[in-house]
Subunit: 173 residues, 2 copies
Amino acid sequence: MKKGLILLFTGNGKGKTTAALGLALRAMGHHFKICMIQFIKGSWQCGELEALKRFEDLMEIHVMGRGFTWKSDDFNKDKQAAQTAWQFAKQMIASEKYQIIILDELTHIIKLKMIDEKEIVAALCAKPKDLHVIITGRDASELLVDAADLVTEMQAVKHPFKAGIKAQKGIEF
Amino acid sequence: MKKGLILLFTGNGKGKTTAALGLALRAMGHHFKICMIQFIKGSWQCGELEALKRFEDLMEIHVMGRGFTWKSDDFNKDKQAAQTAWQFAKQMIASEKYQIIILDELTHIIKLKMIDEKEIVAALCAKPKDLHVIITGRDASELLVDAADLVTEMQAVKHPFKAGIKAQKGIEF
């Protein structure tokens, strides 16, 4: 059996968004069209955004969130931005224009109760048959895990910040 | 403190090599030079190899292994190929030509006792100060975990093969 998968990269370790981008890269080698929607905007993506300019024919990136919501100054504005992003994501999912859609940091939007989880899972389950959807973010909810075909939990075994090493260019951002 | 890191992506889950490639992509956005050495050759990389042709100015890929060693027809030939790959890797590490070196599936070479683990760890610890080294592969040994600055364990929570879904283009290869 072959079908479009729902893939979930979760856990507290490093490598969730990077694994999604690695998969995008692999798929673009097969000329797949990809749409990535970032639900939380952060300056750390500047490296990827720059590199992915070489794939403008195959990959679209929509940075739609309002910044790091866990440091939010205005929950309502964040919620509104998340809802706009989600409406857009639903359109992209239904559009049949892409082979892969990446919903980056979607788990946070669910955790912060900005969008109803059941609505999200229903939309994922109603996706076009051949479309792959990749979801990233820590603290994935049980419903999301149930809906996914593949779940990898990235567990931080060891992290350099704990040893006093700073975030640095090319690695963290 | 800033320094070149040893990063290890291990565990039985999907996303180890893909996370390494995602990191490479991020770093290439900052014009880092990257050298990737694959210790086990497999047909599944065709998507990435094709896509990464767009980064020929920044990234070199050396496929050096002999195939899937766990289905090996000739252990001695595999061991010889692994040792050639490792000698090459050591040269690249010492060359100071790159900001990142990826040693893909290196853990297997250690596990299969094709190269002495202590020699590998010693070479990693003696790397140029600013160089980042990314190591991927399941069953990382304790010495390797100790030597690494960052370790993420990719744990398979759920895998589509178990549900009877086949490996498919753009996702698994």
